[in-house]
């Protein structure tokens, strides 16, 4: 482990062997991180490595279970975000959290508005400062408009402005650039560098290595909730970092079976929805796993939801076996043999407060009903089959789904949709937040299903997963499909290039 040359003396903020669990899920085993003044520090790791958890501990949103947390040498123990703010820490969370009804300016200053006489909020000062901030970031957002209806990118910018305006000693940014375009990223970096030069300590989390290597001085790698290494950027390279992040031979993780590719099952033509995605056309064949790759916010989930009929769309069509899937009618889509495992399993995939057995049988209630009636007995019998096939770790079928670990929750969602016996399975982020062991189980299952002739459209932000599993990779960028790459040609370079660059790589 080498210490960055630009950092001298004791760290501004230090975490050592910090641990955090949620019930049975261990989010963080040994989080270790040292931020120095005059430095921008990168934190990288796979999805679910525990980066955001670490951030939330720094912010005081979560309290650590174990470990040491010091600020300028003093041990601290934040009970709320207000305390960390007061201690000079500003945080940009991964998910923007704005008040939709309040103006952009108010969102930036909520809870710490500048006040004049009689505690009166000084709106003029607030507005002036916001205008200045936006100018610095080079964005055009009306400071007086409500936050409601802003795009994710704009929301992210407001989060950034909010954090910068705190004038904090430590600035933590959890994937601030995930939704931003090049221009905004450049502005952000300019601001970040000037903050660094003013003597602050910055933490930067991103999945984009070009950005990391462009901006940062030091880099820490995490894997499965554990600290792996810290290096000066100059002393390392991308390959090295990726190897440390993944920590094992990628191909072992993805037990891809060869399956006979059959005829076209799902066909999407010219699907569009204003402001979300445009001109989406592709096919999924029987026995084929098609991956839909791209950066977060590229609009992949929206496409899936539109096909399934949860979201409306403006034009184009989707068919299964040549039969049109009617828009805005999920139960009709299910009738045609389509299943969607949604990206947000806690909100969309599961009824968290309901039992495992109810959840598994939720999409097949009508098939299970005898003479229109259904009983717990019928449900349990069916749930038993799927729970055991997927080896869900639960004590009983009436266990509340919300108490299961993330991976097991994901299995329940999978079971729920496999129970419908679909012909086409759309699976959005199949392994997000799932531990390594479960991940390969899910992958093996997907392979097996494809082998039995199911058509699978897999949306994934995890490059190794995409490369390991897909017969064909579709890459989306800003609401359009920018590349189609077959298995033989799919490498991390080709996919990432298509996901980040406006010009199309393949003709």
């Amino acid at each position: 482990m080498t210490i960055s040359p630009s950092t001298t003396g004791s760290p501004a903020l230090e975490l050592r062997d910090v641990a955090k669990s949620f019930g049975s899920v261990v989010a963080l085993r040994s989080g270790t991180l040292a931020l120095h003044s005059n430095s921008i520090h990168a934190l990288v790791g796979e999805n679910g490595a525990g980066k955001s958890t670490l951030v939330k501990i720094i912010a005081g949103l979560y309290q650590r279970d174990a470990g040491i947390f010091t600020l300028e040498g003093q041990p601290v123990d934040f009970k709320s975000t207000a305390e960390s703010k007061a201690a000079g820490i500003a945080v940009i969370y991964q998910e923007p959290t704005l008040f939709p009804d309040l103006s952009v300016t108010e969102n930036v200053f909520m809870g710490r508005q500048p006040t004049g006489r009689f505690g009166r909020i000084d709106r003029k000062a607030m507005r002036t400062e916001v205008v200045g901030l936006f100018k610095r970031l080079g964005v055009r957002i009306d400071p007086d408009r409500p936050a409601e209806g802003l795009s994710i990118a704009d929301q992210q910018i407001i989060e950034i402005a909010k954090a910068i305006s705190l004038d904090a000693k430590v600035l933590v940014m959890d994937e601030p650039t995930a939704a931003l375009s090049g221009v905004e990223v450049d502005r952000l970096f300019a601001v970040a560098r000037s903050l660094r030069d003013e003597g602050r300590a910055l933490l930067f989390i991103s999945h984009r290595f070009d950005e990391v290597f462009d901006l940062c001085d030091t880099i820490t790698v995490m894997r499965d909730g554990e600290y792996i290494s810290t290096d000066a950027i100059a002393d390392t390279n991308v390959d090295e970092i990726v190897r440390r992040m993944v920590g094992r031979d990628v191909t072992d993780l993805f037990p891809k079976q060869e399956a006979a590719i059959g005829g076209v099952l799902l066909e999407v033509t010219g699907l569009r929805s204003a402001g979300v995605f445009n001109d989406i056309s592709f096919q999924v064949h029987a026995g084929e796993i098609v991956a839909l790759a791209g950066l977060v916010g590229a609009g992949r989930s929206e496409v899936a939801r539109a096909i399934f009929g949860v979201d409306p769309y403006d034009g184009g069509s989707a068919t299964i076996d040549g039969k049109r899937i009617p828009p805005r009618n999920p139960s009709a889509a299910m009738g045609l043999g389509l299943a969607l495992v949604p990206e947000d399993r806690r909100k969309q995939g599961l009824v968290l407060d309901s039992s495992v057995s109810r959840n598994i049988t939720m999409a097949i209630q009508r098939q299970l009903a005898k003479l229109g009636l259904i009983t717990s007995g019928i449900e349990n019998a069916s749930a038993q089959i799927w729970a055991s096939r997927l080896e869900v770790k639960a004590s009983a079928l009436d266990t509340v789904a919300g108490t299961l670990s993330g991976g097991n929750q994901q299995k329940v969602v999978l079971g729920k949709w496999l129970a419908t016996d679909p012909r086409v399975l759309i699976i959005d982020e199949p392994t997000r937040g799932i531990d390594v062991g479960t991940k390969s189980e899910v992958h093996r299952l997907l392979s097996e299903l494809a082998g039995q002739g199911m058509g699978i459209l897999m949306i994934s932000s995890e490059l190794p997963e995409v490369l390991g599993m897909a017969d064909r990779v579709l890459v989306m960028r800003e609401g359009r499909i920018t590349a189609e790459i077959d298995r033989a040609n799919a490498t991390s370079e080709t996919v990432m290039f298509a996901a980040t660059h406006a010009t199309e790589q393949h003709s």
Binding site: G60, L61, S80, T81, A82, E83, K85, Y93, T97, L98, F99, P100, D101, L102, E106, M110, G111, R112, Q113, T115, G119, R120, I121, R127, V131, F134, K135, G138, V139, R140, P143, R145, P146, E148, G149, L150, S151, D154, A274, G275
Partner: protein
Amino acid sequence: MTTTLTPPPTRTPNAFAHGLGTFLRARETGILIALVLVVLVTTVKNPNFIFSADGWRDLLLTPSILVLVAVGQAIVIITRSVDLSVGSILGLTAYLTGRLFLDLQGIPIIVVFLAGIVFGGLLGVINGMLVAYAKVPALVITLGTLYAYRGINVLWAGSDRINASDMPKDFLALGTGSILSIPLLTIIALVVLIVAAWYMKNIRGGREFYAIGSDPAAAELYGLKVTKRIIIAFIASGALSGLAGVLYAARYGTINSQAGSGFELDAVGAAVIGGVAIFGGSGTVWGAAIGAVLLLTINRALPIIGVPDFWQRAVVGVLIIGAIVLDRLLALRQSRKLLEAREYSDD
């Protein structure tokens, strides 16, 4: 680069135009125009509606008590709760007022006012604590305290009735007297309204009510004191209902155990008509106050316009539904506009 950021227009030169624009876009404007229309139409039909001493006085006086309760209700609704117990709180404090004058002869009027406000506030604390700590929906809690407070009132008052002659003349004069042809009660309501509006607009605490109502989860991320604010909102609602109870006693002179029953629906109705979103986060106490005035002025205007007594409730119902549908349509139009704006800025 210079084109990307147009500096915001300097405000001083056309502050008036800007103010006018804000006024015309405000959610309250529609409801205010409706109020003015109602008053105009009624006055044309019968000039006495405004142009008689009593007409003018009643126009201002009748809604004043509801305005107070509606202001408190608006604060609670803005924080994403609701207070159904206001009518019962009002009744209890009104009776307390009478009892104080009866049992403590010569008690200073100001003490009675304070007692009413404090007592109302205490009843509000009970609501607030139950909602904030037990994390139980405000609707259920305040439905329960609606029954309970009213029951206590009936238990206490029995069939006892406080008459005008039981209370000092000076106190009763507050209910009807006026300064420069503006009723005292209206002045009190206006002062409360202005203070509340100023607080909600210009003080951190006031803005936090909006933040909490807008997104409670985000409020916690921001480190706002959600529990404390919710309790304060209920205290405000309780204290204002308490003040309203004291003024009710002054205005109507007779109080029995049923005083103020049914007020909760008027108060919630006033806030909703006045553009306070039932799911919190937006709306103003001004809107709620105008809503209260509109609601009661319509009540008084309908017979003058020629709507028979019996049909007036139906008309009020239609107006409430109309107001929330309109509000919804305006909100939809607004969010469509924002979406369009996004598409343009993306190009």
